[in-house]
Symmetry: C2
Subunit: 638 residues, 2 copies
Amino acid sequence: MPSITFQPTGKSVHVPPKTELVDAARSAGVEIESPCGGKGTCGKCIVRIVSGRVDASASLGMLPATAVADGYVLACRTRVPEADLTVEIPESLGRDGARISAGDESTLVRGDLLPRNWEYDTLSVKWCVAVPAPRREDGLSDLDRLTHRIQKDWGPVELDYPLSVIRKLAEELRAQAGVVTVTLIRTPERIHVIRVEPGDQTTRHYGIAVDVGTTTVSVQLVNLNLAASEGTRSDYNDQIACGLDVISRINYARRADRLAELRQRVLATVNRLVVQVAEAGGVAPADIGNAVVSGNTTMVHLLLGLPPEYIRLEPYTPTVLEVPYLTASEVGLGINPESWIYFSPGVGSYVGGDITAGMLCTDLATDTADVNLFIDIGTNGELVVGNNEFLLTCACSAGPAFEGGGIGCGMRAALGAIERVEVDPATGVPLCWTIGNVRPKGICGSGMIALLADLLRTGWLDAAGKFERSRPSPAIRIEGRHARYTLAPEGESGLAKAITIDEVDIENIIRAKAAIYAACALLLEHAGLTFGDLANVYIGGGFGRFLNLEKAVMIGLVPDLPREKFHYIGNSSLMGSYIVLVSQDYRQRQLDLARRMTYVDLSSDPKYMDQYTSALFLPHTDPDQFPSVHSLMRKCKA
Amino acid sequence: MPSITFQPTGKSVHVPPKTELVDAARSAGVEIESPCGGKGTCGKCIVRIVSGRVDASASLGMLPATAVADGYVLACRTRVPEADLTVEIPESLGRDGARISAGDESTLVRGDLLPRNWEYDTLSVKWCVAVPAPRREDGLSDLDRLTHRIQKDWGPVELDYPLSVIRKLAEELRAQAGVVTVTLIRTPERIHVIRVEPGDQTTRHYGIAVDVGTTTVSVQLVNLNLAASEGTRSDYNDQIACGLDVISRINYARRADRLAELRQRVLATVNRLVVQVAEAGGVAPADIGNAVVSGNTTMVHLLLGLPPEYIRLEPYTPTVLEVPYLTASEVGLGINPESWIYFSPGVGSYVGGDITAGMLCTDLATDTADVNLFIDIGTNGELVVGNNEFLLTCACSAGPAFEGGGIGCGMRAALGAIERVEVDPATGVPLCWTIGNVRPKGICGSGMIALLADLLRTGWLDAAGKFERSRPSPAIRIEGRHARYTLAPEGESGLAKAITIDEVDIENIIRAKAAIYAACALLLEHAGLTFGDLANVYIGGGFGRFLNLEKAVMIGLVPDLPREKFHYIGNSSLMGSYIVLVSQDYRQRQLDLARRMTYVDLSSDPKYMDQYTSALFLPHTDPDQFPSVHSLMRKCKA
C-alpha cells in the first residue's frame, strides 16, 4: 500500500490506492476541514501535492487551472495513487501554536480515559417544537404559547426566560410558522430557556471544556449531540506578563485595577481560543450553549475578578470553592451570553477544580478499594492519593519549568518544540525531534525530561545536575562556573539564536521534580502507605504529547515502580472538564469527590524540607528508592 | 384654635396652640423633611413665617441670626402661637412638578384603599447574621461559611449568589468581624442572595412601586420594613415626543433603533424619578432592592425593548403578559442591579398590568358576590366588571385629554394646574383654583371636568359642546367658526400667554368621555347587566388630586348612579403596585385575577359605535340615562 505523508506535521499513513485524500488524512490523524461534506463546493480542503502524482482532473473547474498546475488539489476530490505521496496542508488556519494543537493527540478526547459505565447527559438540551399559531380567542401571549408547548413535552415544570430571549420571541415564533428550537437548561426545580431559534437547529448544539492553567489555557469545542470533540486550541495564559506563578499573580492583583487587568488578560486568552476553535469547527460562538471551566483556585478567582489575597494569607481561605452556576455574560465568556457556566469545584486554596476534573480520568473516581495516586504537574504540582474510603490531597510549588517557564529556551508543547532527545554517548551531541518536524524553537517538558535522562544515562551529566567537565564535547561549553549545553546551534535552530540549556535551567528542573517527588513521598507517609501500596499512578500535565515514563523515572520525577502501573493522562483537567460537560452524573460525582477530599498542608510539615532536599539529586540521594535506575546506570557504565 | 396655612400648596389646618409646627404640617398633609427626628440638628425642616408671629428663640443658635430675623425658623423647634399663621415651605427639593407631587395626596399610600385583611410579606428580606471567622481546619470558603450561616436560620435550602455579590464577599465578611446583612429573595425552591453589606443594615430596606403610563410615570419609594411610602414623584413619560397614544408609539417602534429609543426614553423617565424620590428620602438607589412595575401592555413591551408590532396586528398577540422575574440590570432600572423586578401581569394587548394592579384597590379583588365596576381612565380607558364568579374587561381609546394631552392648554395634575373651576352664571367668567395656589399654567383633567360641567350648568355651553353665541361674555371670543374660552388672560397666567380652551379641545374631551361611557354601557350589556346592578364604581386615573364626581356625572363621563356608590381611587396602578410590593399574597391574588379575566373586544362589536355616537353629547343624547343631571338643568333654567 502506498505511504501518504502529510506536511508540516510529517504524520504518515498507509492506505489502499483510490482512498480519498480526506479519508487518508483522517486515518493519519491530520485534520482537514471539509464543511461542504466532500461535495467539492467549499474549497476548504485545498492541499498541495509536494511529491508524487495524483489525478487532479476532478479539482479542475473547482480550483483555478493555474493553482492545479502548481500542484493544488481538493482533498475531497482526489484519490490516492498507486505510489507514495507527500501532501502539504496549507497553514492558513492561524498561528503556529494554535494550528499544531489542533492535531495534538493529547488534547483530543481519549476514549481510553473515559469512564467505562456512564450516562451521557448534558446540562443543556436542544429541543425542536412546533408552537401553535396565535389566536385571538385564547388570550395567550407568545410566551404563554411557547411555555405550554414545552410543558406538553417536559411536564408541568416552571419555565424561566431571560429578557434577551423574550426580546426576540415575537419574530422567531413567526419566522418559520412557529417551528422553533429551544435550548433548555434543566435543573431539578425548573427549566431555563436560554435560547430560541427559528426552525430545527438541534444539530447545532455545542459546548466548550476550558482548562485555565497558570501557564497554559486550553479550550475544547464539543459537539454536545455526539459528545465528540471538534478540536482543541491551547495558548499561553496572557497573565504570564504579570507573574509566572500563582503567588506573583496574587501579589500583582492587590490593586483593584490590576485585578481587573488580570481578569481581562485571562478572558482575552480564553475568548481568543474560543474564536479559533469555533472558526476551525465552523461553529458560531452563539451556538455554544454550555461551558465547563476547570482551573486552580487562584485562576478561578482571577477569571471571576475575585480578590485572591486571602488565598495567600493565613488561614488561606478562598472566597469560593464551589462556584454557583453563572451566565456567560456575567463571566465575560464570548459564547451565547445566556449560557450557564459550570466551574469544577475546588478543595482548598491550593487544590482547585483542575484536580477534581483530572481525577475523573482516573480510578480515583471509581468505587475501588485499590489505592491510586494522581499527580498533576502544572505550574503547581497537586497530588491525590486514596480509594473509595479516603482521599488525601496536597500541593507543592513545582514552578512552570515543565511547561517551559523559567527555562531560557523552554517553551510549551507547540510547533517547533523539542519533544524528544537522544544523546550520543560518545560525543554528548544531541539528536532532537520537534513537534511538527520543523526547526526547533525551544524545548518542552517531555524534551527536558528526555534530555536530562539521556545526559545522565550517557554520563554527560552527574547526579547533582552538573555537566561532565573532564572530557570535551562539542555540545558543552564552560562559561565561568557554569556549563551550557547546545541543543541546536544558531544555523540549525528555528530562531535567530542557538537553542541551549545551562546548569541553572537544569537546577530549576531538578527543583521542580524534587518538589513533586517529595510531596508524593510525604503524602503517602501521611496516609500510612508506601509507594509499593499503589495500584496505579496517573500523571497529568502539559509536558507534551507523550511522556516517556522510563525517562521520568530515571530523573526521579516519579517513583521507581513497575512501569505498567503508570498512566500518562496528559491534560486531565481539560479531559475532566469534557466529562463533566457531557455527563451530569459525573458532575455530581466530581462534587462528591471534592467534598470527600482532605487537604494536607505540606508547608507546615517539617519533614517536607528533608524529603525535598533528599530529592535534589538525579534520581535521588537514596539509591534504594530507584533500584531500576541504578541497575541501568551500572550497566551503562559497564 | 388658630389656623395654620402652608404655602405654596395653600393647605391649612386648625391645631391647638403649642403644637409643634412639624406636627401641624403633618396634620395638614404637608411633607416636611426631618431626618434628625426633631433634634434640631439637621436643619432640613427650615420654613419661613410669612404672616403671624412665633417664638423663634429655639431656632437661634441652630440657624444664622440673620435668617431668623428674616422669618426663618426650624419647624421642629417652633410651636404654633395663639393666632393664625402662614408658613412657607422653601421650594428647594427639585422641579415644580416633582415638588408638588410629593405633597399630592392621591399618590400617597391611602390607608382606606388597603385590603382589610392581609399579610405583610415582602419578596425581599434583609437579614443580619454573624458569620464565623475563617479557620484553616474546616476547609470552608467564605461563601461556604456564609451559606451555612444563612441555612442555620432559614433551613437547608439551596442558595444562589450572583457574581457581583461573590466579588465583594471577602472584604465584606472581614469588614466588621463577620457581621453582615444579606438581602434575600425567597422563592419556593431556593433563596437568592442579592446583596451582602458589612454590619447591621436591616433598617435600610427599600423598594419602589412604579406606574408606567402612556402619558405619566410615577415612582413611589417604599420603606419595606414599615410598608410606608417615603414619597412619590411623577413626571410626563419622555416617550410623549414620539407619539401621544399607544398606537402611535407602536408605529414609531417599527424600526429597531426607534424601539431602542423608546426604551431609553421611558427608562430615563423612570430612573430620573428614582433619583429624585431616593434623594428626597435620603436613600441610596443601591438600597432599593425590589421593584414592582405596572403598565399597560404596550408600555411594558417598550420598557423591556420588546417589539410591540403584534399588539397592533391581528390577532393582537403580545409577546408577553406574565413577565418572569427580571433583574434591575437586565431591565435597566437604576437601583441595586441584582434586584428582582416584578411586572404586574397583563390580560391582553389592551388590558395590562396597570389594570390588574388597580383592581387590588377595589372590591373586585375580594370574594364578594356584589357586582363592581372599575374604570381606569388614562390615555386608554380600561374597564373591569364582575364579582367572585366572573370578570369581564375591555379597553377603549380615550386619548390623553384627561391627562392634559392633545388639549391646547392641557397639563397633568402638577404645580400650576387649574384643578377646580367655577363659572359665573351671569358673565360666563371663570374663577379658577390651581394646584399650589400659584398662577395657572394650564388645566388638568379634574379642571376640565369641572369647567365643562359648570359651563353646561350655567348655560354657557350647550349639550353639543358649543359655546353660547347669542349673549356676549368677556371670556368667550368667536374666531371664525370656533369659539375660544379664556380661563386666565395673559397678565394673570403663569405663562407668557393666556390660558384658553376652544371648541376643538372640548370636542376632544367629549370624545374621550364618550368612549369611556360607551364602553361601560356595552361591557355591562355583554355581562347581561345594567348600571343599576352595580354595587360600586371605582374610578382610577390621573385627573388630579380630587375628582368631583357630581361634575363627572354631569358631563356624562360616568353613569348617573347614587353618588355613594362612587369611589375615586386616583392612581390605582401605583397603589396596586405598592400592595404587590409589600404582599406576596396579593401578588398571587393579582395573578389569579389576571388569569380569571375575560377580554371583550369592543372594536369588533358593531354596537360600540352606536353607543359612542349616543354619548357624544353632554351628558348624553338619551336624557333618561342621566335623570339627576336633567333635573338639575331644569332647576337652573327655571
